[in-house]
């Protein structure tokens, strides 16, 4: 708790306000009278460290840096000491307001987190299957079409967090290894199966493409054999059990391409 010097060892701030608040509270500065030059200096020091490692998150932090610098310069403008009842606003006012609101939210978030943890200690049970108690079967559904299913599926995809895909792009090589391992595991289990069934577990287009590429690679290495009895019929994939090295990674060939 009592670290002698400020900031830098804590890289995980959720945003510029989080960082700023941390600097202010840590130095026990008065939030209503922030020593802006001091805070700006510390903030910039943190930022330059961060920019070396977390380039992508820096933009919001940079905006705040600009705000701090602008406040600092406005405060350096000469003022009359007798100016007590001036209508001119303290350039820090908005920032202070924002910090206070943010701090309130931060505390609430912590309270919520604790509540969720308490709640996570309680377990309920799956609803009982009541069908034996139903006198007649369930009333038939009305007005559902197959398009409701398609819409429902689309709704799920709209909701899927972006990070899944963002990670896929950056770690394409790793993902290929996963896909390959997964595919081999399934092939070993099934022995032989249809091409279509094999691709069905793919949730995204890139997973589909990855699975397909891995399959080609496995064919090339003669770990699987593919047979198509007639043109356009489903291709059968047969595992030939040649991959003695269980974790052999055909995907490695792809990381250049």
């Amino acid at each position: 708790m009592d670290e002698p010097d400020y900031a830098i060892q804590l890289p995980h701030f959720t945003g510029p306000l989080d960082l700023l608040l941390h600097l202010i509270r840590k130095q026990e500065m008065d939030i209503h009278d922030i020593p802006i030059a001091e805070v700006t200096h510390q903030y910039m020091a943190y930022l330059s460290t961060m920019q070396e490692t977390y380039l992508e998150v820096a933009s919001d932090f940079v905006v705040m840096a600009a705000t701090l610098l602008s406040i600092k310069s406005r405060m350096l403008l000469p003022q009359k000491a007798t100016d007590v009842d001036t209508t001119e606003e303290d350039p820090r006012t908005d920032l202070v307001k924002q910090l206070l609101e943010y701090e309130q939210i931060k505390v609430s978030a912590e309270v919520l987190r604790e509540r969720a943890m308490e709640r996570a200690l309680l377990f309920t049970r799956q609803p009982m299957d009541l069908s034996p108690y139903a006198s007649v079967g369930p009333t038939p559904l009305v007005a559902v079409s197959v398009w409701n299913l398609v819409d429902a599926f689309r709704a799920i995809y709209r909701r899927l967090p972006k990070e899944t895909t963002a990670a896929e792009i950056r770690t394409a090589v790793l993902r290929m290894e996963d896909v390959s391992r997964n595919l081999l595991e399934r092939l070993r289990r099934y022995g032989r199966c249809f091409f279509f069934d094999l691709l069905q577990s793919a949730n995204t287009r890139s997973e589909l493409v990855a699975t397909f590429l891995v399959l080609l690679e496995l064919m090339k290495d003669q770990i699987v054999q593919c047979i198509q009895p007639h043109p356009l019929s489903d291709i059968e994939v047969i595992y030939t059990e040649k991959d003695v090295v269980s974790e052999s990674m055909p995907a490695e060939h792809h990381d250049k391409g």
């Binding site: 108690y133 009333t139 559904l141 559902v144 197959v146 398009w147 429902a152 287009r205 890139s206």
Partner: protein, 192 residues
Amino acid sequence: MRQVMLLQIVPALEAVLFAAGTDGLSTQELAGILQVPPHEVVALCDELRQHLSTRESGIQLLEVAGVWQLSTRAEHAHYLHRMTESSTSTTLSPAALETLAIVAYRQPITRSKIESIRGVHSDRALQTLLYRQLIAEVGRENAPGRPILYGTTDHFLQTFGLLSLADLPELPEEPQAEKLVLFEQESALPRD
């Protein structure tokens, strides 16, 4: 002294059996969870059974095929019957519909895979779909715990007017993450 210690575990036993639901737990499994020897599990279960009956609880402890399981009592069946009546509706909730869509397009599929796609627990939605006979257990996955695999039923095909699963409409071009950001507005889907 030992006896007293053991009795303190009875509420824990009740809690564990409660959460285990319809599957119940074997003596062996209970011994592992409660960290007591198997023969003491049996004594504890007897104790719990007695507790439940003397305190006129609405639930009872049964031993079926070597598995301990909590259940409701026969005399309350008519209340449960009334429960099914209040819950039958002629539409599916959005949650049930989503779950059904996943089962339809990704079958056979386990509950945990469904939940990882939807991002939330799907017990209730699955229960509804099973009750409505739109989906059914179609096997077990060859994986630890041998989880149940679900698939759609003939009744599903009938309800949605499909000849076979091959008749399911193709999914729209998969929205990639980029698209999620760019097209936040709902775009109208082509209908036939």
